[in-house]
Amino acid sequence: MDYFLTEEQQMIVDIARQITDEKIIPQRAELDEKEEFPNAILDDIAKADLFGLFIPETYGGFGGGCFEVVLALEQFGRGCVGVATSYAASALGAYPILLAGSQDMKQKYMPDIATGKKKAAFALTEANAGSDASGIQTTAELDGDEWVLNGTKQWITNGGDAQVYTVIAITDRSKGPRGASLFVVEDKDEGFSYGAKEKKLGIRASSTRELIFKNCRIPKDRLVGKVGLGFIVVMKTLDLSRPGIASLGVGLGQAALDEAVVYAKQRVQFSKPIIAFQAVQHMLADMAIGLEASRALVYAAAKHIDAHPKDMSKASSMCKVCATDMAMKVTTDAVQVLGGYGYMREYPVEKMMRDAKILQIYEGTNQIQRNVIGQELNKEYT
């Protein structure tokens, strides 16, 4: 379907598609097998100027919004969600600085992130604080001219491969929702180390690591914005980044549908290609419908967010739930259409199904998203 992209948006799609076809797809099976962080591909993405899509022109970026990132991620997601997540997580790590950082802080970090010279990561989750972000226990204490961080973050995407980390830590537990603040920690900071790379079900190319802060000392000016703004900035950050994750789902779903249709046309059983059987056709039809519907919702949500509305949470959550649940269904159905071949690592769909699962979990589980939507509905109808 024609979504009436501008010339520049079409350029973004064309470049991202070329990178996906020429670089990501040929390497994805090996990256998944070896659990290798896709440095070379991220370099190619950087050289194509796509790392700075959402960064203002003053800092060397393209000055685009959520929709531009969605367009790029949809293509990368079609290639490999592991690679695409590495790109998306860097944007996630950069957003807090863009939203709340001072001019000086933005000037310090944004140009390098825009050129891909430095990669970012977002450190929120802890062993006891997933959906319940308020349960975080990492602390930050002001000691003279330095903040001292103590605690452990868990399952941080790009952990160990990024250079710039935005970390949320408790600065005053008594203040409740205003008790946390955001800090920038750099990979070479003293007292900052990582755990081993986690072994995962899917997105195996993506790096997931524990971050350990043991009397980690950072200069005072590493505070992002003001003390106490932590949770608020985190929520805004996630609102902005969710359509990107949703878009990964759309790209992934498209890839799975493509494989399923091509296979169904070729596979002959009972003297016919299986696409001739209604059971298969209906599966494919439902996959296509779900995919196109979620694409439309993701695009609409992204454009809505780019119009800077007062409330973006509901749109952001809706598109995330819709596209990621759909991606799980479509990839599972794709494996079903390919039958035994779909289960074999020789064919790409089993990886797609494994990769889909995380989309329903990270950046806020789909259950939490439904809470958000429910609460928003409640607020709307007074």
Partner: protein
């Protein structure tokens, strides 16, 4: 320029049907030409109303056309040997020379030629022009080009043929441009038109999806390069007699601005099977690693690369770069010969767009026969050796 006389044009649309390139169509009752036109003239020939003509088609014919007579071939010589394509050129050269009733000559350039010229005579050359000089040890476009150009200007052959090898394709265009004459590359067929003695040069275009026949009517010589292993080599007759001429080029013609420092030989380990026109692939049906020795022999006989099914690679009979299929390479050669391969979909998906597929398998129900152009049910260890023998015979 294609001229359309709009008064005469009746808008019948025959030209539109005949045009191979979609360059002419009838709009509002009159033919209109667009930029896809290659001026091939098919529409002009087909127009019954006589409304079409190609402007300026009568161009100047080279003044001394009639003086150009004889067939000349460039015999490539490298690393102490005459390249096999030279004997193939003598083969087709002999046919053309006999048809035109003219002599067949060969140009041989190199350092330390020894008896090579004699060999060319045994293979059919009536005259050999040879230049034996240390400066010719390494190939340089300028020196080789200068010498060949000078010999051609002196001897005025009507046709000059060379092999479409790295050397031929590099310097023959230089010679053609210096002589202000036409050159057709990679010809697969060369035939003389009896009416006027013009050489009709047929070659593939668009990666072989289309064939084109080309002529060079107004200038001489008519030059063509020929792909190796396309023409039949001439027969060898050690009793043949011919003339050997030691040609002496002028000193200033033996200069080259480009310098070759040295040559490095490389193992032609054909592991990039995605290039190339022919693949011979082996599968589980080979039963043994030794089966790939047979595959290599067949590949060599047909001038192709060796491929394999996943089963063969998993059994470690041949390394992974040779694997064709879902988790290997996708290939689409002109000819794919599958030996002892069952044809499971994981393999077929990697080779099904090959132009011609030959399957040799013991099992008459093997699915490979569903995609094969030619199927041979039988024991590949009986069939393939005989196949190799017959192919070698055919090639001479």
């Amino acid at each position: 320029m294609l001229r359309i006389d709009i008064e005469t044009c009746i808008g019948c649309g025959v030209c539109e049907e005949v045009c191979t390139f979609g360059a002419i169509e009838v709009v509002d009752g009159v033919a209109v030409v667009n930029e896809k036109c290659t001026l091939c003239g098919s529409c002009v020939d087909s127009c019954e109303a006589g409304a079409l003509s190609i402007e300026g088609k009568d161009k100047a014919v080279q003044a001394d056309l009639a003086e150009w007579s004889g067939i000349m071939i460039y015999a490539e010589y490298r690393h102490g040997k005459v390249a096999p394509v030279s004997f193939e050129l003598l083969g087709i050269g002999r046919e053309l020379a006999d048809q035109q009733k003219v002599p067949l000559s060969a140009v041989l350039l190199g350092a330390g030629l020894g008896d090579a010229a004699k060999d060319l005579i045994f293979y059919g050359a009536d005259i050999v022009y040879q230049v034996d000089d240390p400066v010719l040890e390494y190939f340089t476009d300028e020196i080789y080009g200068n010498i060949l150009e000078d010999i051609i200007r002196e001897q005025k052959p009507e046709v000059v043929l060379a092999g479409a090898t790295a050397i031929g394709r590099s310097f023959i265009p230089l010679v053609a441009t210096s002589l202000a004459t036409g050159l057709t590359a990679d010809c697969t067929q060369l035939v003389i038109r009896p009416e006027d003695g013009v050489l009709l040069q047929t070659r593939p275009a668009f990666g072989g999806n289309i064939m084109a026949t080309i002529e060079c009517p107004h200038t001489r010589p008519q030059m063509a390069t020929v792909r190796p292993r396309v023409m039949k080599p001439a027969p060898h007759d050690p009793g043949r007699k011919g003339e050997l001429i030691d040609y002496r080029p002028k000193a200033e013609r033996m200069q080259s601005r480009v310098k070759v420092l040295r040559n490095v030989l490389e193992e032609q380990d054909q592991v990039n099977i995605t290039e190339g026109d022919i693949i011979v692939a082996g599968g589980r049906g080979l039963d043994d690693k030794k089966g790939f020795e047979l595959m290599r022999q067949l590949a060599e006989a047909v001038g192709g690369a060796v491929g394999a099914s996943r089963a063969a690679v998993d059994a470690e009979w041949i390394p992974y770069p040779h694997q064709v299929g879902q988790t290997g390479k996708t290939v689409n050669p002109k000819l794919y010969i599958a030996c002892g391969i069952s044809g499971a979909i994981q393999h077929v998906v990697g080779m099904q767009s090959s132009e011609t597929i030959v399957a040799i398998n013991k099992d008459p129900h093997a699915p490979i026969f569903d995609v094969a152009t030619y199927g041979v049910v039988g024991d590949l260890y009986e069939i393939v050796p005989k196949l190799i023998e017959k192919i070698k015979e055919k090639r001479g």
